[in-house]
Amino acid sequence: MPEKHVAPSTQFGIFTVGDVTPDPTTGRTPTERERINAMVTIAIKAEEVGLDVFATGEHHNPPFVPSSPATLLGYVAARTERLILSTSTTLITTNDPVKIAEDFALLQHLANGRVDLMMGRGNTGPVYPWFGKDIREGISIAVENYALLHRLWRENVVSWEGKFRTPLQGFTSTPRPLDGIPPFVWHGSIRSPEIAEQAAYYGDGFFHNNIFWPADHTKRMIELYRNRYAHYGHGTPEQAIVGLGGQVFMRRNSQDAVREFRPYFDVAPVYGHGSSLEDFTEQTPLTVGSPQQVIEKTLAFREYAGDYQRQLFLMDHAGLPLKTVLEQLDLLGEEVVPVLREEFAKNRPANVPDAPTHASLLALAEAEYTREEVTTG
């Protein structure tokens, strides 16, 4: 029997891109080693301040360092007790699904089940041919590869044939998932309805990174996923499993936050050299201000996403120094997340599922097994 667990109904955590970016205020660029070590320090700190999840991106081109997320997460697993280790995202296009099945099942065993992952396609054209793929077939590859991965974790012996990889005959992916429970899968997409559809079809989670786009766009993607989740018979739209990103920079005094973050914002690799900080914070979920402002803006996410299961924040990018990021995590863990947990629990309908964990999925499977034993008897 699984141990009784007290899991949060909404998980809070951080996700990192793993960029090596010069600090625009000093001009100094961290070494790859410094950046990788900083990511580990940040993950450990996340657990210390009471967060639930640490997720890392996967990139195969400079200026990014996390090319091998399972390696990084395995190391973090050994240095944490409680933290759920995840990805943001795992490239379902350029990775072999067999290798994903193996890497993350092994990680599950090492981390005692504290593992889930988020599938993504990757939007960097040149990366695809490095792995023998073509970005123009990105959606098709994602659909086929995930269909295979889904089977590899659920069937002990798989024979399979597809368009994008060599066939498998009587193949067993090892190790088998811990307790026979595949890692929970989120599907991340900013603007592809096919991916929301994929998440709905499998009854998996859907994650919107919610950073670059206005709320009404995020809302449409989540509505599509929720409606299709119900269409495929996994539950009501409200019972679909939704995750959101977000991005914040805090100081006790909001003017200090704006003053300190502006030089990083202005030249940030992803959105710098464009809109003003003020316009961008008004039009996207970015919040730069006091912990109270972050609380208010994050609470409003529910207005367009419904009650949801996971909230991740991007905290360590654009060259912010490690010391600053750790201070941000203190504020997030001590002042913001406790209030969010309390408020998110209020008026949450009883039929909205808690965030899935290994223990909760195991309990569901055990309950189903028992029910089948009784009926088939």
């Binding site: 559809e197 786009w213 449409r220």
Partner: protein
Amino acid sequence: MRDFAVEIAHTFTNGFPEKTLADAFSAVTEADGLIVVTPVFSASYSGLFKSFFDALSVTDENALAGKPMLIGATGGTARHSLVLDHALRPLFSYLKAVVVPTGVYAASEDWGAEGLNARVARAAGELASLMGRPATLSKPSRQSLEPVPFDQLLTELGQAPSHPEGHRGRRDR
């Protein structure tokens, strides 16, 4: 275009149109027909004019699909008049607009001269007759996204659709 100049540029750094530009995009997308006019700069449309349509098509690649359109340009000399057929027409063919045969080009000497008004009237008549017809392509509503049935995606790849039980997890026994 000058009202949108900065927001057009921001589309390329943000990835999404800001408020005023988003409203302009909606107006264009919802229009029954369009009259697009640019000054000639360096033997082509102005960069800002092109950027508007670049940003529009990044936001919605079918924004102009099937849309009746009249193209026009102004220039300092009549020697640029083929800009309509060598620059604007291929651009809007690519964007799937239905461009009327008569374009309206006005050089400095055309203003007040004979001929311009007749071309305007002919082009306008062509546009009006196109706009009177049923739309060649129906536009999906921008309020909600259209689902892509997943069985179909799997079948196209030769993968047999199954009906997985999803996160409730099924164990091999």
